[in-house]
């Protein structure tokens, strides 16, 4: 509103005032969904985490920190928290490297390849996690494709199985998060003038120097966002690590499901998911703070 037509603005303001209820009416369905089916369950879950679990009943009303004490003192749960964080950290770091190279490849290649690569990157995003799990489930075991390909090409003599190893879980997790990383970084790279690289090369910089001195500073924020996106996603995923990894690979998500569906211990499952939510939130706030600080430093 630059004051180009004052009467018009005043008239519009009147309309807006008359229809003050309109936006709330429009937002009503969305608010119902978010408040009743997200807000309420979250509060309910927070309350549930302080209840007690005794005997065969699902829960006994109470007010105690017992469940949180269990989560932070029982070896199984503490181990699961560390496993989850470690796995998320390693998988996100690997995704970042692969995703960065992939985005760089698409950015530098001629435009005719672009659509094909983008279609390729969309695949993990559009295919159900369960179908992807099953795909790797047929690739890694003793009678799987990997073993068959290696033995029939004469590279190894005995059948091998990589199924139910941490490596398999890792491969599956990176596969799931790759598209997030790729698209975030590609959109950042698209905003960079390619002639800057040519200029740096003409001035005698080696490719590694160009990467370190030109590309890295320009994409640092994007990398941070991509990393945290992958990290958050990986922390909450439990199906892939539990289906492809070893039986002892217990992530927080797996234990939440185990306590809820297997043991019927609702209070403990709630306490564990509250801890998961807090970790996700901390990660988001942390990235945000880091990203904005970096941004102000560069400006």
């Amino acid at each position: 509103m630059t004051g180009e037509d004052r009467a018009f603005t005043v008239a519009r303001a009147a309309v807006i005032r008359r229809k003050r209820a309109a936006p709330w009416l429009l937002m009503l369905p969305a608010l119902i969904i978010v408040l009743i089916f997200f807000g309420l369950p979250t509060l309910y879950m927070a309350r549930m985490s302080f209840n007690l679990s005794e005997g065969s009943k699902l829960f006994t009303p109470g007010l105690s920190w017992a469940n949180y004490q269990t989560v932070f003192s029982n070896e199984v749960f503490v181990g699961a928290i560390w496993t989850t964080l470690q796995l998320a950290l390693m998988a996100s770091a690997a995704t970042l490297v692969i995703g960065y190279l992939f985005a760089l490849l698409v950015w530098l290649k001629p435009a005719k390849w672009r659509l094909i690569f983008i279609g390729l990157a969309l695949c993990p995003l559009l295919i159900s996690e369960i179908a992807i799990i099953f795909g790797w489930w047929m690739f890694f075991p003793k009678n799987g494709l990997l073993s068959f390909a290696l033995t029939s090409s004469g590279l190894i003599s005995d059948k091998i199985s990589l199924m139910y190893t941490e490596f398999a879980a890792f491969v599956g997790l990176v596969y799931l998060t790759l598209p997030f990383c790729f698209f975030i970084l590609l959109s950042i790279l698209d905003g960079i003038d390619k002639r800057m690289l040519e200029a740096a090369a003409d001035l005698g910089a080696s490719p590694l120097t160009i990467f370190r001195e030109v590309l890295l500073p320009l994409t640092r924020n994007g990398m941070l966002v991509a990393f945290s996106q992958c990290f958050i996603f990986t922390m909450g995923t439990y199906a892939t690590p539990s289906a492809l990894g070893p039986d002892t690979l217990w992530t927080m998500g797996f234990l939440v499901q185990e306590q809820m569906l297997g043991r019927n211990n609702w209070p403990l499952a709630s306490a564990l998911s509250m801890v998961l939510v807090v970790l996700v939130a901390v990660m988001m706030v942390f990235t945000r703070a880091l990203a904005t600080r970096r941004a102000t430093l560069h400006v």
Binding site: I16, K19, A22, P23, W24, L26, M27, P29, A30, L31, I33, V34, F37, F38, L40, P41, Y44, M45, M48, L101, F102, L105, L120, A121, C123, P124, L126, I127, S128, E129, I130, A131, I132, I133, F134, G135, W136, W137, M138, F139, N143, G144, L145, F148, Y175, G204, S206, P207, M235, G236, Y238, A243, V256, M260, L261, S273, L276, V277, V280, M284
Partner: protein, 282 residues
Amino acid sequence: MSDGSTPLTRRSVEPVVFRVLTLAFTIFIVAYVLIPIVVTLVMSFNEAAQIRFPIKVWSLGWYGDFIASPQWTDALKNSFIIAVGTAVISTTAGILAAWAFERYDFAFKNVLYILIMMPLFMPGVVLGLGVAIAFGGLEIGGVSIYGSRGLVMVAHSLWAMPLVFMLMEATFRTIDNRVVEAANDLGAPPVRTFFEVVIPMVSTGVISSVLFAFVISLNEFVMALFLTDRDTQTLPVLMWLSLRSAGTPRLAVASVILALTVFACLSLIMLWYIRQLRKVSR
């Protein structure tokens, strides 16, 4: 690097090394993305009941088995009903909320924005658990809410609606406001303006929203695992449960059917987009 003679040799060696590395990485990434997809596709045509390479006899037997099994077709039907419901709920709620954010100013706008987007960042296992314990024992008119398809639709909308909202907010920003003002000046009531002027202008966004919501719901299985029972379980849930007991090529068939549905949706978006482009250029 300070050596005066290296630039020449490096210049001739580097491009070759780089080309080889680029090629190697391209092969790696293409193989990585395609391996689980191709393995699944190939296995769905296996004759035998075991998952075992090499495949000796090819057949369409497991497709026939899938179609003949009521358990699996019911799961597919449930998946479709829930996905359609999710698409309707999340598109309606998301579009209306996005329009409110685009056209009006109101209190707590930032807070509401975060509130609408927040479920998208929550792990499925947390959302599923929350909805399950909050609505676990609830009955309306003697009918249990828990285990019903409706509850799964709303739960899936927690992920689908923020995406629709984000997409439509960006789309609404591209429309020419003068057209909307003109419709208002000509005396069209806001509701009529919205349906006869605004929605046709953003039809590509609406179609994309509907299909993305559909795809999200079709593929999701963690929340569905928490919220469905034997009669309402979706195809991904059934796949997950039978993967835990024993994997057969029937699972590969189910994966292929899911993936084909998703790619059909994507093709629809593309076709619509091309149609709109033609209309504009005409």
